[in-house]
């Protein structure tokens, strides 16, 4: 159950396995500056401060340069966390624009955490949770 922590406010958002950072944040009721949502316009870049992610599609080198591939730049509409990651936005804060979606995401995260704790107590390996609506 990958989570995205937003520095410096410390918000924690639960993502479905395979979900992009952008998709996860919007689904959890947050908004920030985004554009094409398809990796082309470079507007949705943030800094990744901890954790790893991969890009789910090829990304144009005019969008993410070689240097940016290595300096923690994270193109959020294409970045899929490999585990828990921490990000920091550039020049703006995420805005909570939908409390209802945020509550749903919080519940999903708490349920997934409880499942993981119960499974590890029982000695069974953590299995991937699927999103339940």
């Amino acid at each position: 159950m990958p989570t995205v922590t937003i520095h410096p406010t410390g918000e924690v958002i639960y993502l479905q396995p395979g979900q992009t950072v952008l998709s996860g944040l919007y689904q959890a009721g947050f908004a920030y500056t985004v554009g094409c949502r398809r990796g082309g316009c470079a507007i949705c870049k943030v800094d990744c401060r901890a954790g790893d992610f991969t890009y789910c599609r090829p990304v144009a080198d005019t969008v993410i340069s070689d240097a940016e591939q290595a300096d923690g730049t994270c193109l959020t509409c294409r970045a899929v966390p490999e585990g828990d990651i921490t990000i920091e936005l550039r020049g703006e804060d995420v805005r909570l624009v939908n409390r209802f979606l945020h509550q749903i995401n919080d519940k999903a995260r708490q349920r997934a955490e409880a499942h993981a704790a119960a499974n590890s107590a029982a000695g069974t390996p953590e299995k991937e949770q699927s999103w339940e609506s």
Partner: protein, 304 residues
């Protein structure tokens, strides 16, 4: 008549398979040719070999092709472009599959333009002999034709002059800083014909693509296109809505590589002697998006 129309838009895509799915199955273009990392398409009501070229690797626009009516137009445009201070190269038949010889130059806005007179005639999907109104088995939106494009340039006023002097275009609408004679041009909508615009230029970085647009007939088709975008998980940028500028009805959306597309219908008939509509900054929101009357941040900042 010189330039008749925007003949082709050659676009970069990051993933050819996804792009092909979008342009063929969502937009309904017909594949006419493929070679290497490129695929060529035409829309059903177009007769020339192709109007959209997809090239794998990157995003944004590679070049535009403009079709002229007479072969002598090529010499005329070459002379005028050279006089404007642009370096013009000759392009050979076959440089582009099924496109004749012509000229190629980089505009003051750093976009590559090719101008040509001949393209292989493929024919529309309904033919010319007792044609039906539309093909029975259109796919997806089933757009009939490529319509226009919007590009960005550091100096739209310079591009307004360039397109006027070199292509013989005229401005149907402009956004300018004020009504003063020496106002700066922020954006211009230009055409050579009765079509409301063939190319628009907006203030922004050099060499960038804002969008390229496909034609539709009316509001109903624009609404149906938006429905199909939801079915196919196409990110909608704005719309369905109307542009105050051109009066066209529109949906802005993104292809799978993040290039902005548009479906566009309507727009009043343009004439060179019709006085140019002028928009000033206080009404820019209404000019661009007639219903929300707000210029969203993405309109000026999201480019490929």
């Amino acid at each position: 008549m010189g330039v008749m129309r925007l003949g082709y838009a050659h676009i970069r895509v990051t993933d050819l398979a996804e792009a092909k799915d979008h342009y063929a199955n969502t937009m309904g273009l017909y594949e006419t040719h493929a070679e290497g990392n490129k695929v060529y398409y035409k829309a059903w009501d177009e007769w020339d070999h192709h109007s959209v070229v997809l090239e794998e690797g990157g995003v944004g626009v590679v070049k535009y092709g403009w079709k002229v009516q007479h072969s002598t137009d090529l010499d005329d445009i070459e002379a005028k472009a050279t006089a404007f201070g642009v370096t013009v190269d000759r392009m050979s038949k076959g440089d582009n599959p099924e496109i004749g010889d012509g000229i190629r130059f980089t505009t003051p806005s750093d976009h590559v333009f090719e101008v040509y007179h001949e393209a292989t005639l493929v024919g529309t999907e309904v033919g010319v002999h007792n044609p039906d109104a539309f093909p029975r088995h259109l796919v997806g939106v089933g757009v009939p034709a490529l319509d226009h494009s919007l590009i960005t340039a550091e100096d739209p006023g310079q591009m307004d002059r360039f397109l006027s002097e070199v292509f013989g275009f005229y401005a149907t609408e402009r956004v300018q800083t004020s009504l003063d004679d020496d106002a700066d041009i922020i954006a211009t909508w230009m055409t050579s014909s009765n079509q409301i615009h063939q190319l628009a230029v907006l203030s922004g970085p050099q060499g960038k693509l804002h969008h390229f647009a496909f034609r539709l007939n009316d509001w109903n088709e624009v609404g149906r296109a938006a429905d199909l975008f939801s079915m196919d998980d196409v990110p909608i940028d704005v719309g369905p809505t109307r542009h105050g500028i051109t009066r066209g009805q529109t949906v802005y959306f993104f292809d799978p590589s993040g290039n902005r597309n548009e479906v566009f219908s309507g727009g009043y008939l343009a004439y060179p002697d019709r006085p140019t509509n002028v928009w000033t900054p206080e009404a820019l929101g209404k000019g661009v998006f007639y219903h929300s009357r707000e210029l969203n941040d993405a309109f000026t900042s999201v480019l490929t």
